[in-house]
Assembly symmetry: C2
Homo-oligomer: 464 residues x 2
């Protein structure tokens, strides 16, 4: 106890973001309730825009507009850029578009493009027209690429230098035009027509003598990223090579932007979020506090798919009504067989999907993976078959029933291992996301095979 107190004391200036958000939320809602905007603004002025964005996402939808209107104008642009997609489009429907323009002038091009893509076409055009020439060009370039590609997450503001100068010139240039880009760790060297030649790291620039020519410091860019590269592939490259920034080029090798690691961290987080949510059959961006009916509808698709597969399994059981009527113990034990197969299958599926995404499973070794999963299914199948068989024998005082249920467990776990490996490999072959559809397909298979194997074996050997 005293130990805990002690560590709490030592942690007194440690910021726990999760509980901090809850505290902030409580205070903000209180101030809104009391209509005390002065204190609310004071509270928010100490917060980072991303913290305020979190607050908006956490409060009931009904409170959001009120809260938004209390926000300082200077903060609004950054906040709306940080809010999640679903919440943002909802907000954008309610606020004045002309204000959106003025509030978003000082944003990065990738953030502005994200916001514009949420707006209805006509309004987005209006907003684009109201911008000055330079901003319009910047945002236009970012809008050109889909959001899930390197072009969609890149920033078009890049500090470039020519190769025919020396360090001193570059330093003087930087002193005059302070680069706006954040997380800058290198400058890109380009030719007169903007072809990427290489990069100079900021550290090298700092430690070089002023008279050294830039060519001496220029390193080749080993992996310039093509604008069409998938965002998930970009995260893999950053992760593997520990990058802070990387240049983005078009098909002709021209530099068109740069990606920084903070964008990559956001993609990585979104990617995981998507993976987790898709296992529950929720594909769209999810707003925790969206109106009731919208939330219920969003979850309905998966329930519908599950209903269809559940009725398929029920139909299989229905084939053996006669057997169950003669021996009710079959109805009692059949969910056990099905669920063991389901768990074993999900283990194989999870491991194979993970292996595929890490590049550990592919054409070079898919057969060895499949046979491995079958083997593991057989091992565990035999082990648990003994347990299940013994429990069943004792429970229903019927040794033959025990043998039958044990055999069904082995069949189902081997099947589960085989399909747990084959289903994701097959889904990827036909370009479907295994993380989304794999679970349903697999549990349908293990349910159907589990019920069928057990009931058919019983009908054949126990009741004939």
């Amino acid at each position: 106890m005293s130990n805990k107190l002690n560590s709490e004391k030592r942690n007194s200036f440690h910021v726990d973001l999760v509980s901090q958000n809850q505290v902030l939320l409580q205070s903000a809602l209180n101030f809104l309730e009391e209509d005390d905007l002065l204190h609310l603004r004071k509270l928010l002025s100490a917060s980072h825009p991303s913290e305020i964005a979190d607050l908006i996402e956490t409060m009931p939808a009904a409170r959001r507009l009120e809260f938004w209107n209390a926000l300082d104008f200077s903060l609004r642009g950054e906040v709306i850029a940080q809010v999640s997609k679903k919440v943002r489009s909802n907000l954008l429907e309610q606020i004045d578009v002309r204000r959106v323009v003025t509030e978003t002038q000082n944003l990065d091009s990738d953030e502005l493009a994200d916001i514009l893509q949420e707006l209805p076409g006509k309004i987005a055009d209006e907003v684009l027209l109201s911008m000055d020439e330079q901003n319009r060009r910047r945002v236009g370039a970012a809008l050109h690429y889909p959001q899930d590609t390197a072009g969609g997450i890149m920033n078009v503001e890049v500090t470039t230098i020519r190769q025919d100068v020396d360090v001193d010139v570059v330093l003087r240039f930087l002193r005059r035009f302070t680069p706006k880009t954040h997380n800058l760790d290198q400058l890109f060297v380009v030719s007169r027509d903007n072809h990427l030649i290489g990069a100079v790291s900021l550290v090298d620039l700092v430690i070089a003598n002023p008279e050294v020519p830039i060519t001496k410091l220029t390193a080749d860019v080993e992996r310039p990223i093509l604008a069409e590269t998938k965002a998930t592939e970009v995260t893999a490259i950053f992760e593997k090579f520990d990058l802070v920034s990387a240049p983005v080029v078009d098909g002709f090798g021209k530099l068109i932007g740069a990606i920084t690691v903070d964008d990559v961290v956001d993609v990585l987080r979104a990617e995981n979020d998507k993976k987790i949510m898709s296992t529950a059959g929720i594909v769209e961006d999810y707003d925790m506090f969206a109106p009731f009916v919208a939330a219920a509808r969003q979850r309905s698709l998966w329930l519908a798919v599950n209903l269809a597969t559940a009725f398929l399994a029920a139909w299989v059981i229905g084939l053996f009504e006669g057997a169950i009527e003669k021996m009710v113990a079959l109805a009692v034990l059949m969910p056990v067989v099905a669920s063991m197969g389901g768990v074993a299958g999900m283990q194989s599926l999870t491991i194979v999907i993970r292996g595929m995404s890490l590049g550990q499973v592919g054409s070079a070794n898919s057969w060895s993976v499949i046979s491995r999963e079958i083997g593991i299914g057989f091992c565990n199948g035999c082990l648990w078959a003994i347990v299940v068989g013994m429990v069943a024998s004792l429970w229903f005082e019927d040794f033959h029933l025990g043998i039958i249920v044990a055999a069904a467990v082995v069949v189902n776990l081997v099947t589960a291992g085989f399909f747990g490996a084959v289903v994701p490999l097959f889904l990827r072959k036909i370009s479907l996301d295994p993380a989304l559809a794999g679970g349903v397909i697999l549990t349908t298979i293990t349910d159907v095979i589990g019920f069928f194997a057990f009931l058919a074996l019983a009908a054949k050997f126990l009741l004939e």
Copy 2:
């Protein structure tokens, strides 16, 4: 078709890491097969250590030692640092420890500490003793903190400066002692006794005039990270404030290291991996190509837990043997009721766990979240009850059976919504990981309630 060809051509210099690994693996295995070490070394010399580490993880365990022995000495240290934990400890058992020492001299302190933690205590001590004083001190500091804390992922090599100098002095210092730290974006300003005073960004240093005093460029560090901070919290801070690096301090405010964003990206990836794997009940670091029996055993725990819960559900069914005997349709329909509840419950669970990890769900709004999930469960329950009820009525030509199964669906989906929200909140309260245990507990509840509600209602209203 021509479109696809076209885009392939344009992508010709785009690197797809996943398929690249498969190609590399195939060639490496071929060279090993033919004992052609010359070509194997040539192939590997063009690869990044992390790519070679991926190769090792992807090849059958039996091939790994052979492959390791073919590796260039200069590469081995980096490669073993990059290999996943499970594969590494397996390798470390097979290779000469004295070599490990020589091969790992040039590693970062956090990487060295990771490796040492894998070694048996006696051997680790031996390795530590064989190091020079300075290296031993560095690694000792890193070993002091658990691996899942800021102290465990930090690097102790930090470039620090004093506040009473000017830019010119710092530049000359940097030119003489080129900082070894990678991903350096700021220098930390410390007092004589190493207390953290602030930070100077490299960009500011570049654009400042040489005679400017450092104090003018020093910015406060808003959030120095305490060494005991959880690694997952560190990732949240980096993500939220778009950091490239952050100083780590001890309880007295002394600078003891720094964390760079590449470490954070690794933690983020590992965190997700763990989340995904734990839904399948695999908690340890998983080696895809580990020996057969080890893999089977690793998956057994979850199957055992599932077996216990499946027998619990079977016992509930067993309570109603009499009812099922009178009306076999009950056995046919009962899995439908249970599985609808399971899916709805997993949706609530997933959404609430996600909300908790984003700080959107907590004490300030847990009741509103629970009532929301109950409400959504009721909405979807009523909707799907109608469908299930109608299908059942038509199938078995029994209107009353339809009513009963519909009522059971509503009961089970409301229960699922309630427990889907309560279970993770409760698990966190008692400091258990909801992602690991939540799914099993919840499906046990929805199975038991699903079977019980349906069979009990039927026994009461259809058969009495």
